[in-house]
């Protein structure tokens, strides 16, 4: 069953094509809030940029559904006398894919400068030298400037943030494909849940917070902040996970998840077992396909931030299988996106305010 409409898909495209680097998510948050606004009662923005819509405000019991708004990027870190730019990571950006990519260098005053990650020609590389593989210290951006002076004149300086130029496409009418679906697609999904609630005139017994957190890619920071602000009773987090069925991935190590087989639920100490049971019950009742994966010390998602905040918030993670994470061609199966939205939507209708999340209450 498909719940995504052509209009919502148009928003997804616009939202993904807008750059939203970690720490600089404001323009993306504006787009997201504009889309969300008709489906919520009010919205808020915290000081570091985490945005959230509130549905049915004022109730004691508070439920969060959350994705993260930021995308991995680079920082300009050093400009050589010849005008080449060395970068550092802003989040888990991948040096292996940088050579030959077109980039936008974002300027403080707004606007961008176009550039490329250059790479020596196959003819000129010495394959025996150890320096012939892309690494953080040998990838450089070329803005076509003749020297450092000219780079500075363009408005580019140390601290400017850099994103790849790649944009949204649909592959084989089956996969959404593009840069940083991780995890703007999560923000899209929770907004779609809000749309469904509004369109179906569902009444919830609790206050629902539809949250788009900043700064996940540098350590779950936005979620850490907003968890303390909202102090929810329940948090349902959505992020991406690895489709492990593409070449060169060891399933024995990384689990067995396949794009197209449904959203994936995670078993982990941070994931609340009773909430997870409720998710699985929901999926089974509504015949929504799902997959399972396991994580131990951390899930690597905002689930950890919510779970371990405020004395322990019952939290769960519903993930979207993704191919080629942290590249510019991340791919998510349309069916999985639809089913993930449905699963969160149906789950919300099953949560009641009298849930006792303690694992036992008598001896």
């Amino acid at each position: 069953m498909h719940v995504i409409t052509p209009e919502s898909e148009k928003f997804l495209q616009q939202y993904l094509n807008n750059a939203s680097p970690t720490g600089f998510e404001a323009s993306g948050q504006q787009l997201w809030l504009k889309y969300l606004q008709p489906y919520i009662d009010e919205w808020k923005l915290d000081t570091y940029g985490t945005a959230y819509g509130i549905i049915n405000p004022g109730k004691d019991f508070k439920v969060v559904i959350e994705g993260h708004a930021d995308e991995i990027s680079w920082f300009v870190n050093y400009i050589t006398d010849d005008g080449f730019i060395h970068v550092i990571r802003n989040g888990g950006s991948d040096h292996m894919i940088a050579p030959s990519m077109r980039v936008h260098v974002h300027l403080r005053k707004g606007g961008t400068v176009e550039g490329v990650f250059g790479w020596p020609a196959i003819h000129t590389r010495n394959e025996k030298e150890s320096n012939n593989m892309p690494a953080l210290d040998n990838i450089t951006i070329d803005l076509g400037a003749k020297d450092r002076e000219e780079v500075l004149k363009m408005g580019v300086h140390v601290g400017c943030v850099v994103t790849f130029q790649d944009t949204f496409t649909v592959v084989n009418n089956r996969y959404y494909c593009g840069r940083a679906l991780d995890n703007r697609i999560g923000g899209f999904c929770v907004a779609e849940v809000a749309r469904l609630l509004k369109e179906n005139k569902d009444e919830l017994p609790f206050t629902l917070y539809v949250v788009n957190s900043v700064q996940e890619e540098v350590g779950l920071r936005g979620a850490e902040m907003v968890a303390e602000t909202i102090k929810p009773n329940v948090a349902i987090v959505t992020d991406v996970t690895h489709d492990t069925h593409t070449p060169m991935i060891n399933m024995k190590k990384h689990g067995d998840v396949r794009a197209g087989n449904g959203p994936s639920v995670t078993y982990a100490p941070a994931v609340h077992n009773k909430l997870l049971d409720l998710i699985i019950e929901t999926a089974e009742e509504k015949s929504i396909p799902f997959q399972r994966e396991a994580a131990s010390r951390y899930t690597g998602t905002d689930t950890d931030a919510f779970a371990y905040s405020g004395g322990g918030i019952p939290s769960a993670l519903i993930s979207l299988p993704l191919r080629y994470m942290h590249t510019t061609v991340e791919m998510a199966h349309k069916d999985d996106v639809n089913n993930l939205i449905r699963l969160i939507y149906e789950l919300l209708k099953k949560i009641n305010t009298s849930h006792d999340f303690r694992y036992f209450n008598k001896l």
Partner: protein
């Protein structure tokens, strides 16, 4: 999804281990999501 380099994870384990013997282990356990803070800003170990 968060990416943490293997060396950072190892470093964190080392810190955790060192802390468990030396000082306030519960602080680190209780605040697991903040583990990366220990890596990024070692000064916080003095908290």
């Amino acid at each position: 999804m968060l990416y943490v380099r293997a060396t950072e994870v190892q470093f964190f384990f080392f810190l955790c281990l060192a802390n468990s013997f030396q000082q306030d282990f519960t602080f680190h356990v209780r605040r697991l999501p903040s583990q990366y803070r220990t890596v990024a800003r070692p000064a916080l170990r003095q908290e």
